[in-house]
């Protein structure tokens, strides 16, 4: 070693300089990490130790038009677990099932929710009853990741009565979580599954709050509260509907347990849905916190299909209720007026290639359109259909929106079926496989290739009840939307309504002594069905008061046999709404 003092002190200076430089770099590195990037790491450290426990927000309360409650929230509890890995979650759940009963499905469900969002407490019981909660509270210390959270739970005071339009809520599914529509939703959250709960999910959904608990590296909850300030959940605004709860209850009671079908009541000018009921119904309250498997199976195997909304999903031949469509189209085309007669009088049937029967084999004689509507004479409408011609019949149906959804604010509305043009038949049967004449004969009386929803027939009748404009049915108060279906003069409109009123004079004569009745205008229908050829479906679509309608009602009863069964239900609905006795025109129903 060269140990000359000069050499040594030179090297000492070099070494000192290198040391100071190296430490300066090291301190600089700490400065970068601790001061420059402090925010980022502080956040990471918070994420490490804090677990967000969601505080579910109450869904918006749903009111009827008189601010009566349709859907509200009751206090409930959810039970969830925080764990670092799926395995530890499983182990904790196994231990937990020693204290409370847990089914395999519940365990798998919790694991699935955990995998979806491991930082969120995995929900085990979405709706725990108070007994379970108190048992768990006693054993709290044994389950370090256990979180018991009060959570509002949906309740429908009228249960099955309102299910047809209000729907129900349930836990968001795996596939919904993947869809763009439910962006920002977390596993275990409740969402609207049917009805307006689903349709207005965005409005009804509150803003979830958060509580922060501190967990250690092994996922044990170290501090329950105060780790960071809570974010209070925000309840959603209430939702006001056009439903008249009193009318809805009445409609439901009219169907009772025996009748199956559906009814819808509309305000003709605005399209406000006053009542919408599909029978049989189901109890949406039993769906909250997970549908019991037995109930779900019962609903799905019931041949009366309680989950199938017969007002907006069911499609049925409109039968004689359609004759008003044929009339309106023919009058609009100028091929007929209310007082015109057809060449061949009704003798109980009509020869066109083969013998086409009228529903009344006694015949109606030589009738005018007005009388034909009143008596529902098929022979008259066969000839009117031929006069109108197939292309105008098809194009007319399209212009009456008979192949469009009504646009009612409910999910999964079915589109009614109506052929748009002759091409439809060519495609289906081949160009020589069908005859224009018999096709138009069938269509003219509402049979054939024509399937309408109850809601769409009601919408069509709002046009008849007013001025040819149909209103879009609205359950929730929105801006009414009307669209012109056909154009007839005021006199023609009044004439049609008069014809639908039937024998007006009977109102004055028969009932004036007892009560000043309101006259109901409308049309019955009896539709054949393939399910049971011997028992027909019953229709009634109508409105009241006939001169200045304030309510349109469409009633459809599966296997109702006679149109008047539906008419009676409709009449009672209308009476209840108008709070006056209505007089059913003594029309016997058409075929």
């Amino acid at each position: 070693m060269s140990f000359h003092p000069n050499d040594v002190s030179r090297r000492a200076r070099t070494a000192g300089g290198l040391l100071v430089g190296a430490f300066a770099i090291l301190i600089g590195a700490f400065f970068r990490t601790q001061v420059v990037r402090n925010e980022q790491y502080a956040l990471q450290s918070e994420e490490n130790r804090l677990r967000e426990v969601p505080l579910p927000a109450p869904r918006g309360i749903i009111y009827d038009r008189e601010k009566r409650v349709i859907a509200e929230n009751l206090p409930g509890y959810t039970v969830s677990l925080l764990s670092p890995t799926p395995d530890s979650l499983r182990a904790a759940l196994r231990r937990l099932s020693g204290t409370i009963q847990l089914t395999n499905d519940q365990i798998e469900g919790a694991v699935r929710r955990f995998r979806r969002d491991p930082n969120r407490p995995a929900v085990i019981l979405p709706d725990a009853d108070f007994q379970v909660v108190s048992v768990l509270e006693e054993h709290r210390t044994e389950y370090p990741g256990l979180i018991i959270q009060s959570a509002p739970k949906r309740y429908y005071p009228d249960g099955p009565v309102v299910a047809s339009f209000v729907g129900y809520t349930g836990e968001i599914t795996e596939s919904d979580l993947n869809s763009r529509k439910y962006e920002g939703y977390k596993p275990g959250q409740q969402v609207g599954k049917e009805g307006i709960e689903k349709q207005y999910e965005e409005v009804l959904r509150g803003k979830e709050g958060s509580r922060f608990v501190e967990v250690d590296a092994r996922g044990r909850v170290v501090r329950e509260a105060g780790a960071r300030e809570d974010l209070a959940p925000e309840a959603a605004d209430p939702l006001y509907t056009n439903i008249d709860l009193d009318l809805q209850r009445h409609a439901a009671s009219l169907f009772g347990d025996s009748l199956r079908g559906g009814a819808i009541a509309l305000e003709p000018r605005t399209g406000e849905v006053l009542a919408l009921y599909s029978s049989p119904s189901y109890d949406p309250n039993r769906f909250i916190g997970g549908i019991p498997a037995a109930y779900w199976k019962e609903l799905n195997t019931d041949p009366r299909r309680p989950l199938y909304n017969k007002v907006i999903k069911g499609r049925y031949p409109p039968a004689s209720t359609w004759k008003l469509a044929t009339s309106a189209l023919a009058m609009q085309a100028g091929v007929v007026s209310l007082d015109d007669r057809m060449p061949v009088p009704c003798t109980g049937g009509y020869m066109y290639g083969r013998y086409w029967r009228c529903w009344d084999k006694r015949g109606h004689g030589n009738v005018t359109l007005r009388q034909a509507i009143e008596k529902s004479c098929d022979v008259y409408f066969y000839q009117l259909g031929l006069k109108l011609g197939l292309s105008r019949m098809l194009a007319g149906g399209i212009s009456l929106k008979m192949n469009e959804r009504t646009g009612i604010d409910l999910p999964n509305e079915q589109r009614p079926l109506y052929p748009a043009s002759e091409a439809y038949f060519n495609e289906k049967y081949g160009e020589r496989g069908w005859v224009a004449g018999s096709t138009v004969l069938n269509l003219s009386i509402g049979q054939g290739e024509n399937s309408q929803t109850v809601a769409n027939m009601a919408r069509f009748y709002t046009a008849l009840a007013t001025d040819g404009h149909a209103a879009r049915p609205e359950i929730v108060r929105r801006n009414p939307e009307r669209v012109r279906l056909f154009k007839l003069s005021d006199a023609q409109m009044a004439g049609l309504r008069t014809a639908m009123k039937g024998v007006v004079s009977s109102a004055g004569t028969a009932n004036s002594a007892r009560i000043e009745g309101v006259v109901l205008a409308g049309k019955t229908g009896t539709a054949q069905n393939s399910e049971n050829p011997n028992v027909d479906h019953a229709w009634f679509v109508g409105f009241a008061p006939a001169d200045n309608p304030t309510i349109v009602v469409a009633v459809f009863i599966e296997f109702g046999e006679h149109g008047y069964v539906a008419a009676q239900v409709a009449s009672k609905i209308i009476s209840r709404y108008l709070k006056r006795e209505t007089v059913l025109p003594p029309t016997t129903e058409g075929d």
Binding site: M1, S2, R11, F23, A29, V35, A42, S45
Partner: protein, 415 residues
């Protein structure tokens, strides 16, 4: 006569301050929400500090000549112990599969590698101090290389990369202090640099050109020049092949060093949690004993390898700067002791001890910030562990002696 202190008081004060700081951090490391055995360790650490200081006092009584005399036997003993360890050693803690502990009848006696750090310094100092001129060629370096190389190979075979790096650091630092030209040092280091750069052809190319220029200007013996160049070429080509042969866990460790997010839950986890702990400390930290990363068990090995992360989290940038400044002070003071030593041997020993500490500090502190690979090497005066605390203070005692002799006050230290 100017009155001078009996002992090197600044040196002792710095070492004492670091020890007190360290014990405080070991105490804090035990303060977790879920209590563990670590909570009680600060007491035994305090005891070890007392024992270590006493040891330092004893060593400071011994003349440097005695130390010099003992260098060769103790070096030979160290080599023997290292061989025994390799044959019948055992692992401990996280490195259970390695053989770094000398075990007799199932009782862990100690880590001979710790002893080696001191004896290699003593032996290397003897060899280098004995030379009139510093080594000027590669051939000249055979003796120092052998002295460091044998224990280095034995330790790398354990395997213990962290301690191995300490020996490399001691080797280069002491050569530098003995007056070896920095260009020769660079030539010696060049194959290793080539190996690291082999993964990027362009960088390696640039380095190779630089090397050629260096060889040209330094003008080593022709043969040596050729050997150096050949070695560099070989490393540039061989390194990728060696990489293929590394065990996956070894590859992983190296990769995690480059990017800790690769496998956050396994190998990278420690480093990420350590960085989060330090980074979340900010200017002033979360407060003594209040670090959440540590409290909630996110920080691994918080009382040993990652104790500096606790400093960063709880005392913030200010605390880190204070600790590092204390270390810098200790090193500068040691360099001063080395520069003013009475004789070349003492000077070499003093510088070698400082170099050993320095590598520890940079490796350990760098690891907490992901600037150095995870090697499980302790931080002097901070990490929990009795034998390392004792070794550190014995070194302090030696330095105090050298300092005193350098100032002509050795007699005053004598009994």
């Amino acid at each position: 006569m100017r009155r001078t202190a009996l002992a090197d008081l600044p040196l002792i004060a710095l070492a004492l301050a670091l020890s007190v700081f360290g014990v405080a951090m070991v105490y804090s490391a035990g303060q977790t929400d879920a209590p563990t055995a670590v909570a009680r360790l600060y007491r035994s650490q305090m005891l070890w500090v007392v024992v270590a200081i006493f040891g330092a006092y004893v060593v400071s009584r011994a003349s440097v000549r005695l130390v010099e005399w003992a260098a060769l036997p103790s070096y030979m003993l160290t080599i023997l112990l290292l061989i025994v360890t390799l044959v019948a050693g055992s692992g401990a803690g996280t490195a259970a599969s390695s053989k770094s502990w000398l075990t007799i009848g199932g009782v862990r006696i100690g880590q001979p590698a710790e002893l080696a750090k001191i004896t290699v310094v003593l032996m290397l100092a003897r060899v280098l101090a004995a030379r009139r001129e510093p080594p000027k060629s590669l051939l000249d370096l055979w003796q120092p290389a052998l002295i460091v190389g044998i224990p280095w190979l034995l330790i790398m075979a354990q395997p213990d990369l962290g301690t191995g790096i300490v020996f490399v650091g001691i080797f280069f630092a002491m050569l530098f202090w003995s007056g070896v030209s920095w260009r020769l040092l660079l030539l010696v280091a060049s194959p290793a640099v080539s190996m690291v750069l082999a993964f990027n052809t362009r960088l390696w190319g640039a380095w190779f050109c630089l090397l050629l220029a260096l060889v040209w200007t330094y003008k080593p013996y022709l043969l040596e020049g050729i050997i150096i160049v050949c070695l560099n070429v070989m490393m540039g080509v061989v390194a990728p092949i060696v990489w293929e042969r590394l065990a996956p866990y070894q590859q992983k460790r190296l990769l995690v060093f480059i990017d800790p997010t690769i496998d956050a839950r396994a190998s990278g986890y420690h480093v990420i949690q350590s960085q989060v702990a330090i980074g979340s400390g900010g200017w002033l930290g979360k407060g003594f004993t209040e670090g959440t990363q540590k409290r909630l068990g996110y920080l691994p090995e918080q009382h040993t390898d990652f104790i500096f992360a606790v400093v960063g989290e709880e005392l913030g940038f200010i605390g880190v700067t204070l600790a590092l400044t204390l270390f810098l002070g200790l090193f500068l003071r040691t360099v001063r002791v080395a520069a003013r030593a009475n004789d070349s041997y003492s000077s070499m020993v003093a510088f070698g001890l400082a170099a050993s500490w320095l590598v520890h500090v940079f490796e350990n502190v760098g690891m907490t910030l992901n600037l150095a690979p995870i090697t499980g090497i302790p931080l002097p005066f901070f990490s929990y562990g009795g034998s390392f605390m004792l070794a550190s203070w014995l070194a302090v005692g030696m330095l105090v002696r050298i300092s005193a002799e350098g100032r002509g006050r050795a007699a005053a230290l004598a009994v």
